[in-house]
Amino acid sequence: MAPVLETKGLVKQFGGIVATNDVTLSVEKGARHALIGPNGAGKTTIINMLTGVLRPTAGTILLEGRDITGMEPHKRVQLGIARTFQINQLFADLTPLETIGLAVSERMELGGQWWRLVGSKGIVIDESVEILDRFNLADVMDERTGNLPYGKQRLLEIALAIACRPHVLLLDEPAAGVPEAERRGILDAVAALPSDVTVLLIEHDMDIVFSFADRISVLVNGTLFVEGPPEEVAQDPRVKAVYLGEEAHDA
């Protein structure tokens, strides 16, 4: 199968610090690919380069064979990469319905229209409500996002990325900081993501990684360390030493 998302020799330096060191990564179409690694391994830096928030020092990024290394963030979204954030990045003053409607209408290229009132396109409303319903947000769709419980905000974080109808979805620690009671809802939502959407998951929590991923890449100090199917990675002594060893210390 052809890779949907590829990086070739990706390097990012902040001053003298090498955050990403020659990362060559390939994500297959429809994959459930996890990128794991200890704190400070450079996982989020890679996401930021993939989405255009950061410009790589060297290397290329290919989306469906097309070089997007220097492309502006919003254009990448239009081409089919969407992401969620480790720390919620939502519009606190908008309601979930407005938030999702915004993403849907932007995707349909209606977002620049100033002569038409919000909510005058049935097709946008239908799809927005369908997404909100699917992510269990329909009951709070007209409340201020900033006032929602954290778990609901976390769901909206994922729903918002899905509203961009991505080919590739980058999930940055979707369950981070979610209280135990609301955790199940998030994991169910992640598990129920459409199978034709390729997912690159960044995660700390080993339970989530091993229950979700069909392929795992381990990143240590900005360098790709090991890559393979979950059972192989779990058995790899180097991974145990570097990564799982550290987990054991944490516990």
Binding site: V53, P73, L94, W114, W115, R116, D126, V129, E130
Partner: protein
């Protein structure tokens, strides 16, 4: 077009449609506001001159609200566009390039929009602080250019501007009635357009850009494109406001580009509140009336009282701050103290209030709670039955 696994339940869709439409619905207060403006034409004929000025400043403040309240762009140089529009309108009239005032006003708006478009690229980069510097810088540069050029009349201002009748029919009169009706109509029409803009998908995207530009770009919004667009629109609004000032006073001076003008419009908007379009207009009314009143009773030191009012508003909120400042002012006026003693008295009161601030705030929030409760009771008594239930 869209492929949906399960179409959403109908009642949910109806609820969503109603929610999205709710922001754009006209409230009775809005209608009352415009009826009051209309009534002022007939009821306050002796005040038309100051009312014209208020309408113009209100439009200017609406312009600032578009960029500050909706897109989060801070500007300390918004007078650049106001002044540019003012001079363009003056030059067009003085040299007979465009004689008809409405056409000249529109041309001034277009000219200011062009300036706004070009300078918008300067405000795209950087933080609020750099934006303050850049906008301030553009206004300063423009002011000195107007000062130096001959076509603007330099430091003497643009004199000998003679206005033709509007549409060839309505001549500007010395009582300012034509000017006021004209300014009010322009304000109303541009307000309607602005109201449409902020309630459109474009307006919603502006609010998202203001709230979180990082996420806005992560859902495919061209953040810089939207900022350029709104900055250009706002510049056109400010340019039209400036043109109205020149046309109604038949004069343009360097004061249209002054830093003070940029600062005043910011004050008006902050007094009235950002992000709902009415704030700028209400702020303009309050600012101008207070300024006019204070300048009459206390011509030398009127800005002292204005400053006191602003400080109190920051300390105790808009409404209570204004009340407290008014009470201090009233006491000083009735006691007829010399100004130095008024200052001393005010400083002592402010110091006491400052120390007792937590208690004062407790008291004011208790009053607010009572007021809200009363309001709720009244609302419950006068609720309209929703249609179709």
């Amino acid at each position: 077009m869209s492929v949906m696994a399960n179409p959403p339940p109908k009642p949910l869709v109806a609820k969503a449609a109603a929610h999205l439409a709710s922001r754009a619905r006209w409230s009775p207060l809005e209608i009352a506001f415009w009826l009051a403006a209309l009534a002022s034409i007939f009821l306050l004929p002796s005040k038309h001159l100051i009312l014209t000025e208020i309408a113009i400043l209100g439009l200017f403040a609406v312009s600032l609200d578009l960029i500050l309240g909706y897109a989060g762009i801070v500007s300390l140089g918004h007078a650049a566009f106001f002044g540019f529009g003012a001079y363009v309108a003056g030059i067009l009239a003085k040299y007979g390039i465009i004689k008809e005032p409405i056409l000249a006003m529109l041309a001034s708006g277009v000219a200011a929009a062009a300036l706004g478009f070009v300078t918008s690229f300067l405000v795209l980069r950087g933080s609020d602080l750099t934006r303050l510097m850049v906008t301030l810088g553009v206004a300063l540069v423009l002011r000195e250019i107007a000062n130096r050029l001959e076509i603007t009349g330099g430091a003497d201002g643009l004199q000998g501007v003679e206005m033709q009748p509007i549409l060839g029919h309505f001549a500007f009169d010395i009582f300012g009635k034509t000017a006021y009706v004209y300014s009010l109509i322009v304000l109303f029409v541009l307000f309607l357009i602005a109201r449409r803009i902020v309630n459109s998908p474009f307006g919603l995207s502006l609010r998202s850009v203001k709230g979180n530009p990082l996420r806005a770009s992560a859902i495919g919004i061209h953040v810089n494109g939207r900022l350029v667009a709104v900055y250009t629109i706002a510049a056109a609004y400010a340019g039209v406001a400036g043109a109205l000032l020149t046309q109604s006073t038949q004069f343009a001076s360097l004061s249209v580009l002054d830093f003070e003008r940029s600062a005043d419009v910011m004050l008006m908007l902050i007094i009235g509140g950002t992000g709902y379009l009415y704030g700028g207009m209400i702020g303009a009314v309050l600012f101008k009336l207070v300024q006019d009143y204070l300048a009459n009773v206390n011509p030398q030191y009127w800005q002292f009282w204005l400053g006191l009012g602003l400080v109190m508003m920051i300390m105790f909120g808009r409404v209570y701050g204004a009340v407290i400042a008014t009470v201090i002012f009233a006491i000083c006026m009735t006691t007829n103290l010399p100004f130095m003693h008024q200052i001393l008295f005010t400083l002592v009161v402010v110091a006491v209030l400052g120390l007792a601030r937590p208690d004062v705030l407790k008291l004011t929030s208790a009053i607010t709670e009572r007021a809200v409760a009363v309001q709720k009771k009244l609302k419950a008594r006068f609720t309209r039955q929703p249609k179709g239930s």
